[in-house]
Symmetry: C2
Subunit: 369 residues, 2 copies
């Protein structure tokens, strides 16, 4: 068998899973049209509704990665040929633009320098210039640069302009707070293999009544990501139109129960906050600076500028040799940065060890070893 | 935890998984951009190419259910507004029609009486009447009626008319033979949770050069199921555009190795053949008849006509009480039929026990107990 050697994961996702989660993954299967599945589905959706504070929003589960729901947002809630304001602060904002274009809609782009968030006044200005867009897309947490956008403030501006708000929360949900109803969001999506620490294969989407109302008049929504079809199946039988990834749903259910057991959402988010601070201060103590603008650092991934003369790729490779899988810098920043993910199963001592190994690696590279 | 009681599964899928497969599902995660993942992906694709005899075809892995690739076939290989001959022998043929329509293409329907396959002469006639269709869709194995279509012969006719051949092999692949190149197929898809006996969450698609050539000129293929994008990622890095369901890919790799160990594809298919015969003769020995026309019985699921005065739903419920999960009759045949799936992990003694329990159930129901 092609069997990877065990590395300690500080990846951008898939991330390491909790032992309880891995155990649940090996549960024997059952039918997705059975009472057992309905109970599992309903319980998981109800827990997500509470976690995301989406009492008015509708939570759905998709047999796809998060990008599937990105595509769903465009096909269900934007008119064919309609305009979307796509805000870009890194690679995943660019992906949203591609998804808009490849589905026959027109992106209007607001792009900022990598390392920065979109600021509310920038969004306000872009919307004043483009009053004809139907929706605004926001990358909540940009995995490529380690920047967290000020989602609550951005959503407020978008709602003042009466636009639908689509949020790519793939590397944010489960670590950065989301108050779906209160913040006036319309579509929020994520996937299992990020801050929830579950294996990949499952996406989560949340949808507002306004968005769903609009979908009813959008033609050619397709079958696989037709959100109204998902709602019909969920309302009638607590299941999905086509077969869902049952192991990942069981695993997500398990982690939502773990969250409950440790004191609920806000206790869980504090773990992420503490972990991110520990990694950021560890990196700074080694004399390096962060790629993200101060005040907008991600709670799930830290993008680090390598010291002069040292390549991020070399840091990545040497850390792997020492047993730690970090993430390479993304795209054009492959050499000048590397990234440390903070998601999933990550005992504190792993972080200490990893920072120590990082110190050794930087030392070796500085000495040209 | 919402934890289902263990039932012996004779379902239409998800099906019971082999112990080796379940063990593999709990493996710790790793990055889908790592060397380890590339090795796993390449090895799995190569094994599938051999299994499906697709040396000229391209095998791809999708983070979706099989229906996702059904949608991909329409969006990638049929012109917007173009016509498709959809052959319907049951519910999943009807689903193909819905997928064609909801993606802005035009279905031309050839539908036969449930229980029957499409015959080559019927397809020939339909294609003579509709020379302007761009493709023909065929449900290889119709899960709702337990009928296996004569795929090789149907594909031959479609190719004589120079049409692309799209094959829904969801409940066929891994149990009914597929010779992709030799039979002249253009798109064949399936999913993990059927005859391979792996948990749900992964789809497999195979694509001919002719199909891929055509895709280059189709606009608005979308992002998530853009087959050309999948090929680019596979060629450049043996991975997928968005995060793949790694546990299911490991599990599929394991089962493909199990198949190799027991003597290869044809030995494995014989297991399915023997199992299907055993179940069919067991059912007939209890005085019941099959829904499928003789000579076209499915190797993966048997649809049984209930004796007069007995409801299929009652058979289903009573069997569940005895610890066996069969499948209900589908749609309009819920009362007059029930179904017995033969897929996945199913030791011979389970079949004997199940048939014995079925005898008892029929007896109870006849006596009005």
């Amino acid at each position: 068998m092609v069997w990877p050697k065990p590395l300690k994961l500080f990846t951008a996702g898939p991330v390491a899973c909790f032992p309880e989660v891995l155990e649940a993954m090996s549960f024997q299967m059952f039918s997705h049209r059975s009472k057992e599945y309905r109970d599992l589905h309903r319980d998981t959706v109800k827990r997500l509704e509470a976690f995301l504070e989406a009492r008015r929003g509708t939570v759905l589960l998709f047999p796809s990665s998060g990008t599937g729901v990105m595509e769903a947002s465009v096909r269900n809630f934007v008119s064919p040929g309609g305009k979307v304001l796509v805000t870009i602060i890194g690679s995943f904002g660019k992906r949203y633009r591609e998804v808009v274009e490849s589905n026959g809609r027109v992106p209007v782009v607001l792009e900022v320098e990598p390392g920065n968030p979109v600021l509310p006044e920038e969004l306000d200005e872009a919307l004043k210039k483009n009053p004809d867009v139907e929706a605004v897309t926001i990358t909540y947490n940009e995995t490529s640069t380690g920047v967290l956008n000020p989602l609550k403030e951005l959503a407020k501006i978008a709602k003042e302009h009466e636009k639908l708000v689509f949020v790519d929360a793939v590397s944010a949900m489960g670590a950065a707070d989301i108050k779906f109803d209160e913040w006036g969001l319309d579509v929020v999506f994520s996937s299992s293999q990020k801050a929830f620490g579950v294996p990949p294969g499952l996406a989560i989407g949340v949808f507002s009544e306004d968005a769903l109302e609009k979908a009813r008049n959008i033609p050619n929504r397709g079958w696989y990501f037709d959100v109204l079809k998902y709602i019909k199946y969920q309302e009638e039988q607590w299941s999905t139109p086509s077969t869902p990834p049952i192991p990942q749903i069981i695993a997500l259910n398990v982690i939502l129960r773990v969250i409950e057991r440790i004191g609920g959402k806000y206790e869980w988010l504090k773990i992420y906050e503490r972990r991110a601070k520990k990694i950021r201060s560890g990196v700074k103590a080694l004399g390096m600076t962060l790629f993200a603008r101060e005040g907008y650092e991600s709670p799930t991934i830290t993008c680090v500028r390598t010291p002069p003369g040292i390549s991020g790729l070399d840091v990545y490779k040497r850390m792997r040799e020492k047993g730690y899988e970090l993430a390479k810098g993304y795209g054009q920043f492959k050499k000048t940065t590397f990234r440390i993910g903070h998601m999933g199963y990550m005992p504190d001592e792993y972080i200490d060890e990893m920072l120590k190994a990082l110190e050794e690696v930087l030392d070796e590279l500085r000495k040209g070893k």
